[in-house]
Symmetry: C2
Subunit: 294 residues, 2 copies
Amino acid sequence: MKVSFLGLGVMGYPMAGHLAKAGHEVTVYNRTAAKAEKWATEFGGKAAATPKDAAVGQEIVFACVGNDDDLRSITLGDDGAFAGMSEGALFVDHTTASAEVARELGEAAKALNIGFMDAPVSGGQQGAENGALTVMVGGSQAHFDRAAPVIDAFARACTLMGEVGAGQLTKMVNQICIAGLVEALSEGLSFARAAGLDAHKVVDVISKGAAQSWQMENRYKTMLADEFAHGFAVDWMRKDLSICLAEARKNGSALPITAAVDQLYGEVQSMGGGRWDTSSLFARLEAMRQRGGK
Amino acid sequence: MKVSFLGLGVMGYPMAGHLAKAGHEVTVYNRTAAKAEKWATEFGGKAAATPKDAAVGQEIVFACVGNDDDLRSITLGDDGAFAGMSEGALFVDHTTASAEVARELGEAAKALNIGFMDAPVSGGQQGAENGALTVMVGGSQAHFDRAAPVIDAFARACTLMGEVGAGQLTKMVNQICIAGLVEALSEGLSFARAAGLDAHKVVDVISKGAAQSWQMENRYKTMLADEFAHGFAVDWMRKDLSICLAEARKNGSALPITAAVDQLYGEVQSMGGGRWDTSSLFARLEAMRQRGGK
């Protein structure tokens, strides 16, 4: 199939690569053009100069960029993808963005007879590289049925959650569940150390029961080793949490602990840890404890 | 082996039962004597009138009571178990209590040439009934080696964590990891509902990745069904968290989210939910949301 991919960051670069490896004819666009050239050389596709150029003549246009504003800039306006897309073509957005921008772009696309799906992913850089992402989709059943077999190139699972926006809302639930969980784990590990316990042995015992989590199993060793370069960065998590908190104000749900953990992530940023991974909440606790000389 | 069991609550009753079924000669004591009589009839053991009477002539005396004060009252004083135990006998405490009381009783036992181990459990009422508890032990290797084969009657795993007190400290880490995690899950589920998503479908998708937890897998259905009678009660959790927070003041670790969630559990108690299980943090969020008419 003729497709394009807009945005070749740590996620988009390998995702577009999987599309090429699956036999699709892929045209790419990236704000920093050199990266698009590099991708085209590596995977044998084409690099376009603008999102519009990349979108012309494609059946599906994929995107994965930084935030709502980046997303508007590659879709709308004279150089935007929508200006280049044919009627009946489909835009699939893998950015983690607000449900609001998804609905806004969904409406704009509809007016042009273009299809639109919001399809944020989880699984991180490693999931993107291994083609094992979880994709949460908002859109129509017909659009989903058309895109799912193509998305399959980089997904382990792809699920239609509801109307346009429902993919973003599902991703928000994911981030809400993670934020408080990671801080709870961090507090547990920091307490274990302060109490003089062998924290590895503690996790070995408690990870069989009600305290178990993916984060405990996959992150405790690196946390205890002061390694915080295992994927999703604090700066990105704060962007996501700000979307969650804004949406919660609208839908009337209360997120007291999520809001508090967002502030703790702000303190990690103050420590210079904006590029550390989300488990660095532990580094914050340990830095304070060491300052206290305990 | 001749053993006794002090405290026949929802945990102790089935634990003592497993000891009897494993062929041990069990004498029991309970504050409310009728329950001890019932147990003795059901399992064919003896019921004693005081902890001291229950402890006389036993090789190991097990206990599982409510809190530090209950524990002191069954061990110390004229009617306490220590007064009845022979030199060389061993006291194994399964209560979740402070590390301080464990060390205090460890010293008192030592002065009488009695062995002492703190051995709190996780796995809840169901784990006790199925003989599948996780036991976290503080004590000497020699005492552990003597008691472990007997504890095996009701344990899935039994691990020596360090000196007297280390069992309690390990259990505290477990509770710290759970508190923030359950609130994070509750906020995620409440947000999902408020956002109009199918919360079951959301969990189905996100439980494959970084948001996964034992709590998510084992409690989300009952939470969404407004069922909060699945084990460990809020009143008990607050008792445990108060122990964790007191210990953290001493060892210099910071537990900001654990402390905040302890307060949220206090609000669940205010709602009349002291006997609801720990997942009732979700009921608190939903009650507020419904009051808001959203």
